[in-house]
């Protein structure tokens, strides 16, 4: 077991701060807006029910209409936030890792080396499929908390990305003798890729 102890100049390392993030697919904010729109429409419709049930005192009937109004305001607000956060998200590839940025106010950058990816999974729900979108999830060792999930990639990009990363992972793992057994880390056959019916 020999350790390299390379004299690395602090400035010469590839830097996390120099990432140029690509935004998610253009359809992603639209999909988020529609998804939130549907959910909030259902909520607002449900909030109208009390007003319909109460028939007698007209004042109360009118006051209860405040509920859906409140729902409308909240719906617009939260949908706008979700769309904004969808626009803020971004990803980028380097030679050896993938980086993912998210968060409007609480910014987060995640960097995952290809070599650490155990396997990857593409999923797309009905709404995502309508917009030609997919989610890509990377599984790593060490528990669910460090699995990386990237929403809002176009279907083509998602499958290309998975193909590329699994290939790189297999290569680098072959370099230093496959850690977790080859069968699991090998790139999946694109024809057999599990496109789950619901975003799992």
């Amino acid at each position: 077991m020999t350790f390299q102890n390379l004299p690395v100049e602090p400035g010469s390392l590839p830097q996390v701060s120099n990432f140029k993030f690509k935004p998610m697919a253009p359809a992603y904010p639209k999909e988020v807006r529609l998804q939130h729109g549907i959910v909030w429409t259902i909520v607002i419709l449900a909030q109208v029910i009390p007003s319909i049930i109460v028939a007698k005192p007209l004042g109360l009937k009118m006051a209860l209409l405040g509920l859906p109004v409140l729902g409308l305001i909240m719906g617009i607000g939260f949908t706008a936030l979700a769309v904004k956060s969808a626009r803020v998200k971004g990803w980028t590839l380097r030679q050896h890792d993938i980086a993912y940025r998210s968060g409007i106010w609480w910014r987060k950058i995640v960097v995952l080396p290809f070599d650490r990816v155990q396997h990857a999974e593409i999923s797309s729900g009905p709404l995502q499929r309508k917009f030609g979108l997919a989610s890509l999830k990377f599984f790593t060792a060490g528990g669910a908390s460090i699995d990386l999930r990237i929403d809002g990639l176009s279907e083509d990009v998602a499958s290309d990305l998975r193909e590329f990363i699994m290939q790189r992972a297999a290569e680098s793992q072959d370099d230093h003798r496959a850690p977790q057994g080859n069968s699991e880390a090998a790139p999946a056959d694109p024809d057999k890729s599990p496109v789950l019916p619901n975003g799992a």
């Binding site: 390299q4 650490r116 790593t140 850690p179």
Partner: protein, 516 residues
């Protein structure tokens, strides 16, 4: 887990374990009943125990039925359990009601342990315990095979997994180079420190997030409290009056503390008495145990991190417990909703010098003595956390002012502020980070500390997180994910956090060696 999927051509080579394994299954059943079944049936047992007549008879009947089920189940388990080695695979068929066949590749096995339970030692038998990578709860136990065979199997599995032939000498009784022994006094100290965490938990329950791996204490304490007859205590308090009651309570706490320490020491001795650590090339062996002997084996390459733990008691005793952390759980375990285990190889009760030396042994070329740790931003970390820690005191002060005396409010405010500041300051002071050679070091703690030392190349993922105020102040939280556990270093200088992440990523991506 595909039952009967691969029908082997030479099924006659399937082997059984020794019949002593029946004892193993009986004990397993009994333990299962006590830990999982007892809380549910305890009321029924209480009723049966106090009742007489037909109820008592029914109770005894139910108990003997249960015992019969256990015995028959154990015999069937023994009969059903078969294993064989095929190339570099271990095949196991087991199960009474649900039958399963497991195919385990040697190179997926991350931990091999040999237990010599007290009932098997007279027969020269041992249990071979295999822990497969990243699947907590999928341990495989071969109960009741001759000790020499168990050792040979272990050596073969390890030599396959490391792709290095084992020296022949390891089959001998004394397998390898002696590295470290712990006297039973050392182990007793370890027992006290394991208890120390419990003490802290009792006093500062809310502040402590993690209790050490001494789950055996819980049931013992429960049993103790139920076994004490509290009626006598209450009547004594009534007789003695207020000062006597205080004295009695203090005395009770003292006795409880002594008892807990005693349990803790006994528990530590049970598992770690005659602790002996030896090394053989890249493989470590631990052998210890008071009545039942345990042998645990660890390959150096599997170590994801070394963690120094020192709590208050350990600080008083000037001892450090060194934990070697392995892969804790993979997605396979999570997909099946299994509890995430924390595989740990413990080197207990080290002195300061020993801790430095042992760290360099497990993580070669790591010079912990020359390690300089930087601290996180004090002003920002403290101002934010004092605000949070003070909240309950503000609530308490308002409460006191309203119900007791308006004058009490400022006193409670100030006391709260002082206490919150003190606690947050302690917490701040413990945070530290640094790198030396190709290793990273992250320290956190409160009264004691927990220092994680890890090869930078074993990083799994790095996260940088910034709140709006941290962005303005140029600070960031860095989370380092290892395959064993994750550590967050809050309120680092942004450039320092980036530098740490860049260095670790560079090591992880450029290293010729794997992480596993």
């Amino acid at each position: 887990m595909e039952p009967e999927a691969k029908e082997p051509a030479s099924a006659h080579r399937w082997r059984r374990t020794s019949p002593v394994a029946v004892v193993f299954y009986v004990l397993k059943f009994a333990r299962h009943m006590v830990t999982d079944g007892l809380p549910a049936v305890a009321p029924a047992v209480a009723v049966f125990a106090t009742a007489d007549g037909w109820m008592k008879t029914a109770g005894i009947g139910a108990l003997s039925a249960l015992a019969l089920i256990g015995a028959v189940g154990a015999i069937l388990s023994y009969l059903r359990f078969r294993f064989r080695f095929e190339g570099q695979q271990l095949l196991v068929r087991r199960g009474v009601i649900k039958r399963e066949q497991l195919n385990v590749d040697f190179d997926r096995i991350q931990d091999v342990a040999i237990d010599e339970p007290f009932y098997a030692r007279p027969f020269g038998l041992a249990m071979l315990k295999l822990d497969t990578a990243g699947s907590a709860g999928k341990e495989i136990t071969l109960p009741g095979i001759p000790l020499a065979n168990a050792r040979a199997m272990r050596n073969e599995i390890i030599s396959v997994a490391t792709r290095q032939p084992m020296p022949e000498t390891v089959d001998a009784e004394e397998p390898s180079d002696h590295l470290l022994t712990r006297s039973n006094a050392d182990i007793a100290r370890y027992g006290l420190t394991a208890n120390g965490l419990l003490w802290v938990a009792i006093v500062f329950g809310a502040f402590v997030s993690a209790v050490d791996d001494d789950q055996w204490l819980g049931p013992a304490v429960n049993w103790l409290t139920s076994a004490l007859n509290l009626d006598g205590v209450t009547s004594a308090i009534v007789r003695l009056g207020a000062p006597g009651a205080v004295l009695l309570v203090l005395l009770g706490l003292l006795v409880a503390g002594l008892l807990l320490s005693l349990f803790s020491i006994l528990g530590a001795l049970w598992k770690y008495a005659d602790y002996r650590l030896s090394v053989d090339g890249n493989t470590y062996h631990r052998r210890s145990g008071l009545v039942s002997k345990q042998e645990q084996t660890l390959k150096r390459a599997k170590i994801q991190a070394a963690v120094w733990r020192q709590n208050v008691v350990a600080y008083w005793l000037s001892r450090i417990n060194l934990q070697l952390r392995l892969v804790s759980a993979g997605e396979a375990a999570n997909a099946q909703g299994m509890p995430i285990g924390q595989p740990v190889f413990l080197v207990p009760a080290l002195t300061d010098d020993e801790a430095h030396d042992m760290s360099a042994e497990f993580l070669p070329e790591l010079d912990t003595r020359s390690l300089q740790l930087s601290q996180i931003n004090r002003r920002r970390y403290m101002s934010r956390n004092i605000t949070l820690a003070w909240m309950p005191f503000i609530a308490a002060a308002s409460f006191a002012a309203y119900f007791l005396n308006p004058l009490a409010a400022p006193a409670v405010f100030l006391a709260g502020l002082a206490l919150a500041t003190g606690c947050v300051y302690l917490r701040w002071k413990r945070y530290g980070y640094g790198t030396v050679n190709a290793y990273g070091c992250l320290r956190e703690g409160f009264f004691g500390y927990k220092t994680t030392l890890f090869p930078l190349r074993k990083l799994q993922r790095a996260d940088l997180r910034q709140s709006p105020s941290q962005r303005r102040a140029g600070l960031a939280n860095l989370t380092v994910h290892l395959a064993s556990h994750s550590i967050t270093m809050p309120y680092m200088d942004l450039n320092e956090a980036r530098r740490f992440a860049d260095l670790a990523l560079h090591q992880a991506e450029s290293s010729e060696e794997g992480w596993f």
